[in-house]
């Protein structure tokens, strides 16, 4: 029998056919979704496996995913040759009596670049959250001249990448360093501070400048995200607070902020991850001239500067750098998705 045409098909027939199609395509959709997940996760997974291989298994041809084959079997779980050589090279543990665990981390990625990154990301995200909270409260609750223009301007700025500003920012930082140098020299010759202290202070100056740049760069998006959360809080709550005699400032800090906490957390986490992952600013402003101020990403990039790097070492470094952000994302994924919907999809 030929398939019924539009005219001859009864609504019931059509409905049944549609229902049958639907359940068949649902299975197909699940399979398709699993394939997509595989494509998206597999490169990360293979990097993880690679980081636990030894050199002999890394350079095998053709390449094998698991170093688990024996001369007779293709895969034997008990024959897997997993090693931590890559991680050992990155951590570079050395025995050091008298310390807490009796060892010292000599790998610069862990003992210098990681604390740097945590410092930049924590303080950058903290300031962004506070400033974005204040600004978006003003945008959400007040009417003032030029508000619409300012908001569109801020939305436009979220699209501007840091790249084109970096050249000028680099010049500004260099000029700033030059301008403050006489001051430090004066303090040293005057005997107020030692030469080492001056060096430390100048390093801190660079750290603070770097955090300033991050704040200015990541603020606009956070303002949009937090504003979305503020907009969702009913204004009656503040009105009730005003009737009870609260000042606008009290209403902001004691009534609204606790309610907007998810938005503020979202802005914090998003900025934290962005600064953690940021490469080009850190690389250009401090990465090449001041090694002690590098972030982990610049540290990982620097690994390949020496051509002797082995793949398992590079893979181990990548795993160490991506593990924290992936974990943060997995634990706070709801917050991330909500922030994205507020900031980018809706905004």
């Amino acid at each position: 029998m030929a398939t019924p045409t539009l005219a001859t098909r009864t609504p019931a027939q059509s409905q049944r056919k549609y229902a049958a199609q639907k359940s068949a395509t649902n299975i197909a959709a699940n399979i398709a979704a699993i394939i997509v997940c595989f494509i998206m996760v597999f490169p990360v997974f293979s990097t993880l496996v690679l980081s636990f291989k030894q050199q002999v298994d890394v350079v095998r041809t053709p390449p094998q995913l698991f170093p688990c084959d024996t001369p007779t079997e293709a895969f034997n779980l008990s024959a897997c040759r997993f090693f931590t050589e890559g991680y050992q090279r990155i951590l570079d543990l050395a025995p050091k009596p008298g310390t807490l665990f009796g060892v010292e981390l000599r790998g610069r990625i862990i003992n210098t670049y990681l604390p740097n990154t945590i410092f930049y990301a924590t303080f950058g995200a903290l300031f962004v959250t506070v400033l974005a909270g204040a600004a978006s409260y003003a945008f959400s609750r007040y009417e003032f001249r030029g508000k619409r223009l300012l908001l569109i301007g801020i939305l436009a700025i979220t699209g501007i990448p840091l790249l084109t500003n970096l050249l000028a920012l680099y010049q500004i930082v260099v000029d700033f360093r030059k301008a403050t140098l006489p001051l430090f020299n004066q303090l040293v010759t005057g005997g107020q501070i030692s030469k080492d202290t001056a060096g430390t202070l100048r390093d801190w100056q660079d750290r603070i400048v770097l955090i300033f740049i991050y704040i200015g760069f990541f603020l606009p998006l956070s303002i949009w995200i937090v504003k979305g959360f503020f907009d969702a809080i009913p204004r009656e709550l503040e009105e009730a607070a005003f009737i009870d005699g609260a000042t606008p400032f009290q209403a902001l800090t004691q009534v609204i902020t606790p309610l907007a906490a998810p938005g503020l957390v979202a802005a914090f986490l998003l900025t934290f991850v962005s600064i953690w992952n940021e490469f080009i600013t850190n690389y250009l402003i401090v990465g090449t001239s001041k090694q002690a101020l590098r972030s982990v990403i610049v540290g990982v990039f620097d690994l390949t500067g020496s051509n002797l790097i082995n793949y398992q070492v590079l893979a181990a470094a990548c795993v160490l750098v991506m593990l924290p952000v992936v974990l943060v994302f997995l634990f706070a994924r709801r917050t991330f998705f909500q922030a994205m919907v507020e900031g980018a999809v809706k905004g």
Partner: protein, 311 residues
């Protein structure tokens, strides 16, 4: 007039919105607006050993006249076309798949989003380790005759012979890796954007059209597509913008090579500014990229009326 009753309290309370906004705006002005203008100022000067000399538009002439600029313009175009097309198409298909009610939807979306949270540099390395001719699991796949590359170890191979010296085609295979890696990282966000748009399409209309006998193709074309077209445009401009300015992946995956085969505009900016230390020329190129960014942003804002309505 302020919405809240700001007559209460003194001067500080009345000017509260100003004090709330000022710090944030100061940061934005200092980090985003002032450097933008300063870049333009630098581009009009010749900067040599700390001294600046006004040279007018000479720097622009030197940049635009250079062979490296024209070459990287083509590289950027090839990259953008490949990257945007691949990401949009793949993102759209994934969004359509995920738009169905599935028990494990949340799990799927979470897994798909993992690349989004990774740094560009790390993504570059993950792909380098993935496609590396020596150790990469995908190297076999990419060196298959399917890609017409004759099984050469692609990442280290020099670009294939050119058809004509004026047309830098076919692009070096390294470009293919760059496109794939960039699309892999950009796919999650694009998917989310399109998925959010798909979910605003009222299901009853689609269902009733299907029950009335419309094929899935027809209901897609005449009901779904027109409704989500603005979002597709927004995604298109966002991808172009991020593709124009992405640089971390070029650093870690190809380093601009082989030769200069993956030297896109953003990487050329780095080479001129920080490798050759010609700040005047780099500033001119920077201004050029900035102008393109501005155009893209303006068009994108226009494309998304819904954004403007929200303000």
């Amino acid at each position: 007039m302020p919405y809240v009753n700001s007559r209460k309290g003194g001067f500080l309370a009345r000017s509260l919105p100003f004090w709330l906004l000022a710090p944030a705006l100061l940061f934005i002005v200092f980090v985003q607006l002032y450097p933008g203008l300063y870049t333009f100022y630098l581009s009009l000067n010749n900067i040599d050993a700390g001294t600046r000399k006004y040279v007018g538009l000479q720097n622009f002439g030197r940049v635009f006249g250079g062979a490296a600029f024209r070459e990287s313009l083509v590289h950027t175009a090839v990259f953008l076309i490949g990257f945007v097309t691949l990401t949009l198409l793949a993102g759209f298909i994934v969004a359509l798949v995920l738009n169905r009610k599935m028990k494990l939807s949340q799990l799927y979306i979470t897994l798909i989003f993992i690349p989004w949270v990774l740094s560009d540099v790390v993504v570059g390395y993950v792909w380098k380790l993935y496609v590396d001719p020596g150790a990469g699991l995908l190297s076999q796949f990419f060196s298959s005759p399917l890609f017409g590359l004759g099984g050469s170890p692609l990442l280290i191979a020099s670009p294939p012979p050119q058809i004509s010296p004026d047309i830098p085609f076919p692009p070096a295979p390294a470009m293919l890796y760059l496109i794939c890696a960039a699309a892999w990282k950009a796919l999650p966000f694009t998917t989310l954007l399109l998925l959010a748009a798909l979910q605003t399409v009222p299901q009853e209309i689609v269902e009733s059209s299907r029950i009335d006998g419309a094929t899935s193709m027809n209901s897609f074309r005449f009901i779904i597509l027109p409704l989500i077209l603005p979002t597709i445009l927004v995604a298109l401009f966002n991808l172009t913008l991020s593709g124009m300015n992405g640089i971390g992946m070029v650093f870690s995956l190809t380093g601009g090579g082989p030769g200069s085969a993956t030297e896109v505009l953003s990487y050329l900016l780095y080479i001129i500014g920080f490798s050759r230390l010609d700040f005047g020329q780099a500033a001119a190129l920077s201004t050029f990229i900035f102008a393109i960014n501005l155009i893209l942003i303006a068009v994108s804002l226009r494309a998304s009326r819904s954004r403007a309505d929200l303000v």
